[in-house]
């Protein structure tokens, strides 16, 4: 199969700081790629470059073999890349189902069709009971699930998850991890930034580790946990995987 996403020598500077420095990697369809790195490593900037929130200062991004460098985020969304926000950004004055409908409109033009797709997606992430609730009444954990539902209702080819586990209880993390692990089988490729390491280590098919804007290691999760550069930069000590 052909490469789904290719990031070629991408850099992004803010004034004198280089947040993303000459990063290259590729994602194949059906992968569940974990993207990790310490705070301030440039993970979120990299996400924003792929999602079209920021244009890169240098380098190229290709999706489905097509250059999409510098595209606006609404155009990126339309070609099949969905993303979640690290700090949830709900439409506060709308209900939960209406929040998801707005993503569903990308696939279902009618209100009724979009509502149906939104309801299905809500049931998928376990938010069916909150469908009619106002979005501003949800707790952080539920808002994170709403972010996931909104991304998936777009029926994307590639989804970018930005710390969807932060603020969840251990039980919720378990449920969510299982859910994310099942996405590639449904034809959705995943790039996942996460601080809850045990979740991502167990689930990811491959990991990319960045530090200070540079890609420092790439490989299978178990290998990454023992890679000296990774351990030094990020983990501090060797991780023992169950």
């Amino acid at each position: 199969m052909s490469t789904l996403l290719e990031v070629r020598h991408v850099s992004r500077s803010f004034h004198t700081t280089t947040a993303v420095d000459d990063i290259s990697f590729a994602v194949q369809p059906g992968e569940l790629l974990g993207l990790i790195g310490p705070n301030g490593a440039g993970k979120s900037t990299l996400f924003n470059l792929i999602a079209g929130v920021l244009p890169p200062s240098a380098g190229q991004i290709l999706f489905d073999g097509k250059p999409v460098t510098g595209w606006k985020s609404h155009d990126i969304a339309r070609i099949g890349i969905a993303r979640t926000f690290q700090i949830p950004k709900p439409y506060r004055q709308l209900s939960v189902v209406e929040n998801v409908m707005l993503s569903a409109f990308l696939r279902e033009k009618s209100l009724a069709g979009a509502r149906k797709l939104a309801e299905t997606t809500l049931a998928d992430v376990g938010l069916a009971d909150y469908s009619g609730a106002p979005a501003n009444s949800l707790t952080v954990g539920l808002l994170k699930r709403l972010e996931v539902a909104r991304a998936l209702a777009m029926r994307p080819k590639l989804v970018l998850f930005d710390e969807i586990m932060a603020g969840l209880t251990p039980t919720e993390v378990g449920v969510m991890t299982g859910f994310v692990a099942g996405l590639p089988a449904r034809g959705i490729t995943v790039i996942w930034v996460e601080h809850v390491l045990y979740a991502i280590m167990k689930t990811a098919t491959r990991m990319v580790v960045i530090n200070r804007g540079k890609l420092i290691a790439e490989g299978a999760p178990a290998v990454m946990a023992r890679d000296p550069a990774v351990v030094k930069a990020y983990l501090g000590e060797e991780m023992v995987l169950a």
């Binding site: 609404h74 506060r92 709308l94 033009k109």
Partner: protein
Amino acid sequence: MSIAIPASISSRRIPVLPKRGQISWFEIVLLVISLGLVVSGIAPSLQDVILLSFLFAGLGLAWNIAGGYAGLISFGHSAFFGVGAYTSTILLLRYDISPWIGIWVGALIAAVFGSILALICARLRGPFFILSTLAFAEVVRIGALNWSSLTGGPEGLSIPPMASLAGMVFASKATYAALMLGYLVFVYGITKGLEASRFGYYLFAIRDNDDAASAAGVNPLLGRTAAMALSAALTGVGGSLFAQYFLYLDPTYVISPELSFQFALLPAVGGLGTAIGPVLGSFLITPLSELLRSHLGNAAAGLHLVIYSFGLIVVMLYFPAGLAGALNKLTRWKPFS
């Protein structure tokens, strides 16, 4: 108070109180009362107040499309009102084109002005956006004042007071009241249609969170521009109707911050981002300000503004979601249900 019932929801039960995208009994009753007021010709002395309440309800609704639905709080809408009023009047006086046509030309030109405003202010948010809209209207006003060959400058323009259907000038105030009610119902129908459409949802999304809307494939700039253009066009229609009723225009009155504030105030009092809000706001505020002005205007100049402002403060303090919000609270202590 609308005629546009979207097909997908008309089959359901009709709710008692106003609901987004649905027609309620409350709105039907309000429309019947309004029609009754026009047809029966009750209280001829109040006919001015009644028809102005209709007109301003329509104008409040038009403002609400930008301010309430798309989150574009504008204090410059009198520019669109003026553009509409001047366009139809100039077309009538210079080229003898009937206002029935001129109104739509005015709406189109107002829409162009609205798009320009939205594009100029594309990157501005909050107070910066609001101040820019104020400045925009000032530019239009000063332009109208100085372009005397077209607008008549400070002397303004007068429409000959000869009653004719083609000229949209009527002898009876009841006819004007019907015209204004027609305008109100028209804008209300568009608002209700918007609430039940994908485009309406796009506006809600852009208002509530730009970034999230963009991540869902919605182009925020396009949405804002379209909302402002639609709002401006409908405001322009109101401007033309006002000109046909008042039969006189000058830049200082039709393009003024006072008028812009009035457009914004009615939805704010009635309930931002609701269809019924601007209507309730206008039905309360317009008669109040007209009556206060006529009763207190001579005795104590300016006192009507004091009473008026005090009333506003009370509404804002106790009903932050406006009259529509207060109406929705009724459902909580409904004895039945």
